[in-house]
Structure formats: C-alpha cells, structure tokens
Symmetry: C2
Subunit: 314 residues, 2 copies
C-alpha cells in the first residue's frame, strides 16, 4: 500500500514482473489481503508465483518511523522485512514511507558487520557507464568515517552487482584539490586515500555526469539534492525534446528515466532493502523487483560484511 | 590574464561587449600592458572606451588567495578591485583564481554592513523564470545565521536586479517537512521563518528546477555541486540533442548555456565583484560585463547594506 499510486501501480508492476519471461523469482505481496487480492484480480493474475500476505496496518507517508515500528507491526513494510529476517524472502521492496522502511530494515535486519550507518545507493547514468551515487539521503551530518564506510559499501556493490573490476571511487567536492570542502569532507578525503579501494580523489558535479568515477560518495543531504536535481532536469529535457526520435534521444530518455533504475538500495544491512520512488508507477516497481533479485543473488550484504570485517581487523 | 582562455577570449569578449550597440559602459582592462595591447590590436580595437591598466603580476589558478594578496599587488584582479575601491571603476570582473578574487573583494572592498560572509549567487534558469541560487561555493561549513544572510542578500538581489516583486525564498533540503535535513539546515529553517523575506519553506532538488522559489539558499558545498551538476547535465543534453532545431530546443540551449548567465555575483560586499567561469570564453566575458554594469547601476550593494542594517536594528 506504499507510495503515491498504491495499490494500483504497485500490484500492476508486480504482475508485470511475474509475467516477464526473464522473471526467476516469486513475489510475496504484503498488504491488506482483500484489497490486494481484488487488485490482483483486476490485473487478471491467478497464478501461484504471487502470494498475498495479510498486512492490514496502513502507514502514511509522513508518519514518524519509530512510531510505525512501535504501533504498526502488521504494516506492509514491517511484515515484508520480517519475512526476510525469517528467511522466507530474499529481499524487501517498498515505495512507501522511506524513513519507516529504512528504520524497519535497520531494526529488523540489522547492520552488516561494522558498518556505522546504512546508505541509500542509486545507480545513475553518466556519459560513460552507470555510476553509483551514495548516500542519497538516508543520513545527515555524517562524520568522515561514515563517508568512508559509504565508499567501501559502494565499491563492493559496483564490483558485485555491476561487474565493474576495481571500480573507481570519488568524493563529491567543490574542486579537485585535497584542501577543498568543509572539515568533514577534507578529513574524509584523507581517510579515503588510505582505504583499500580505488580512490581517485575529488569529483565535481560536472565530472560526475561525465562518469569520472564509478562510485561517488556524497553526504546524504547533498546526495539527495543531487539525485532530485537530476530527476528534475531530466523531466525538463524530456519535455523540451518531446517528439525527438533519434537513437541518441531514445537512449537518453531510457537511461535517465528514474523508473528504469530499480530504486535506491540500502547498503550496509544484513539483508536487501530497496526504497523505490514515492511516485513509483508499475514500470518502476517492475524494475525494482528485478534489481532486488539481482542484488540478493549477488550476495552483496555478505560481501560487504566480509570486506568491512577484513579491513577493521587490519 | 585570468581563466583558462586568457588573454585571447577575455579581450575578445571585452571588445565584443564594447562594440555591442547596447553597451553603455567603458572598460578598464587590467593586465600586462604590452600583452593586452597586442591582443586588442589583434581584435582590431582602437577606440577609447577601453583603457589598459598595467598589471604585470600573473596569478595561477591554484595559488593560495592570501599569498596572492600579499605578494601580487600588481596582479590584474587586485588592481581591478583596487580601482573600484578608489571610485575609478563601478564593478570588477574576473575569470581567474576565484578564491583570490573573493579574497581581494573581501579585503579591499569590505563586507556590506553586518553581512557575515559574502556568497556567490548565480542566476539559474528554471521551468518558470530564472532563480537565484546561493551560495555557489564561496563558503563551507556555514552556521545557520550565515544561511539567513544569504537569503536576505538573495532576496534583495532578486528584487533589485531581476525586478521580482516580493521574491519567494526557499531552502534547499531533502524534503518539505521542517524537521528534514541536518542540524544547521533545521535551525536555518526556523530562523528563515522569522526573517523579513517571503520564505516559502524547503525546496527539493526537483522543485528547484521547476522554479518553486525565486531565491534558493544552499550551503556553499551543496550549491557548488548543484551548479556544476546542472552544467554537466546541460552539456550532456546539448550533445544528445545536437541538431534539434525546434523553438523549445533553441530556448533550452540558450537558457542553460552557462556562458549566457553573466557569472557568479559576490553578494554582501561594499561593491560589485563578479567571478566568471574559469573556462569562460568571449561570450561568457561579454555577458559578465553587462551583468556587472546592471548590478552596479541597480545599486545592489547599498540596498543589501540598507536592508541588513534595518533588520539588525530591530
């Protein structure tokens, strides 16, 4: 029931994913049973690859995360993450209250060994290949060591899921020189130089789009603003160039449409949590489910835990 | 001699501005006399609306600002700002070392009454009308009260230069709710609510592009990343849609080309300082000179000082 267009678009997206010839997973839909079944029927689905799990509590988009955890154990998102904890689901996807989803994942699944704070990682197109931007808004006012954890998590993700060999990692900043940026950013730069990753230094906003780094670390506040700014700019360009049908234009339109990106991945958890856009439609839900499956199969959480444990032991 | 393409592009831009039928100002070109005169000759200029002021010291793009001020009093930028202080120039424009330009303006012109820190303000196109984004990178790690000064300066600027009546002011943030963002941003939100401006609350990255506010306040680190991200995204779109000749496309291309924006204005000084892009070409220089003149004529520095004095007195 999460997101602006639930349950219609969420369930339509789930049915679309299940009917995709490439689909190799089953779906557990967590929500008020009657409403969900009704919607499934509307979408003409009667197979057994989708199971409805009754979760009658409804969560508003602006409800306090701690309040949701305390008072709504039977909400879709808490139920869904709980199923993962019990080993009955491999991943959890929500288009609902992102703070509540983050809190549920953190409390129920727990953090991967030694990760200080989970981050939201998003795959963003660039002039070269997709880059991972993190944190996209799970945190604010991070310490330098937290930014380093983001870099480690992002690096493992780029390698395990995107298949990038020795992915380059950059720190978003106002200039290339080490001494640029505020206190925390400068400290993070020094720590990143010593981290067991392929750190290439600071990356400016313009160079981010040019794909100078495979993984770009940003404080959550700035990363969130960046993500939404790109979304707004894409929408503007989409409107301006509506009707242009060149190959380049079609590719641009596909790549930059946030619905095709699979949502934001929570990195640093003992499990797989995906937060899709609140405005997610069926296309976005479809892609998020595939991303969740890919992420779970690649065993990213275990790989992140392993890498971080190895580092902290040194 | 400042910027990546000086002196060629800088002097070409100055000649182009002087030859513009709308030009109603004279130009003092501050740089090594022989080199500048040689370049003027190449551009076929022999009139008397451009005067060359000998300033033989050269400033590198990565030189420390304090070092420049101490050791290079005869550099173009220090000379140029000095002329303004003496009342011989109405405004100063530089495409060179922006830190040094900022420091020179701050030390030589001084801050407008009660402004804590000057900010770089840039006019950015939106789906509606141009918005002022500030700070675009003059500061890092600002206190909440500094963000409020940015809002006041930006508001005066939008009114005096852009002619916006009672301009709306927004705070860039990760969500609309008051409690979003880090400690400083949340504190700034509360202070902005009480400030004598038309504060409309938080603005997310996507809404910034949609023109939800006329003036958007951002910490310098984030504002700089935003500005450069938009520049990169524009360049990408420009490349993708090269050859598309619809009216909409031409308008988009004109509006988003940073060269047409007149550079970054230092707000909060007792004078007019403009920092253009390091990659400024003659078109960018041309526009920056016109912007500088417009800004000086509107008497923005005095208006900002007046507004701030009135507020602090209350």
């Amino acid at each position: 029931m999460g997101g602006d267009f639930a349950p219609e678009q969420v369930i339509k997206g789930a049915v679309s994913a299940i009917n995709d010839p490439q689909c190799d997973f089953d779906i557990l839909l967590c929500g008020p049973e009657a409403a969900v079944k009704e919607e499934l029927k509307k979408n003409g689905y009667s197979g057994n690859a989708i199971t409805v799990i009754d979760a009658p509590d409804l969560v508003a988009m602006d409800e306090s995360p701690t309040q949701v955890l305390k008072t709504k154990p039977k909400s879709g998102l808490v139920t869904c993450v709980g199923l993962q904890k019990q080993g009955l689901a491999a991943a959890s996807v929500s288009a609902g209250n992102s703070g509540a989803m983050m809190a549920a994942c953190l409390m129920i699944l727990g953090r991967a060994a030694d990760v200080s704070r989970p981050a939201i990682a998003c795959a963003v197109p660039t002039t070269k290949r997709q880059a991972i931007l993190l944190d996209c808004g799970a945190n604010v006012d991070e310490k330098a060591s937290v930014l380093v954890d983001f870099a480690l998590c992002g690096s493992v993700y780029a390698e395990a899921v995107m298949g990038y060999e020795n992915p380059t990692v950059g720190l978003i900043n106002v200039g290339e020189e080490e001494k640029k940026g505020g206190e925390v950013v400068q400290e993070a730069h020094q720590l990143l130089k010593q981290a067991p990753i392929n750190f290439i230094g600071n990356v400016e906003g313009r160079d981010f789009i040019k794909g100078h780094a495979d993984v770009v670390v940003a404080p959550g506040y700035t990363g969130n603003v960046m993500l939404k700014l790109m979304e707004g700019f894409y929408e503007l360009a989409h409107e301006v160039f509506d009707g242009v049908n060149t190959e380049k234009a079609k590719k641009f339109d596909y790549l930059w449409d946030y619905r095709n990106h699979g949502g934001g991945l929570l990195l640093g958890l003992n499990g797989v949590g995906i937060i899709t856009h609140g405005r997610a439609d069926s296309v976005a839900i479809h892609h998020s489910l595939f991303t969740a499956c890919k992420f779970a199969k690649a065993g990213v959480p275990a790989k992140i835990a392993e890498k971080l444990s190895a580092i902290k032991k040194d």
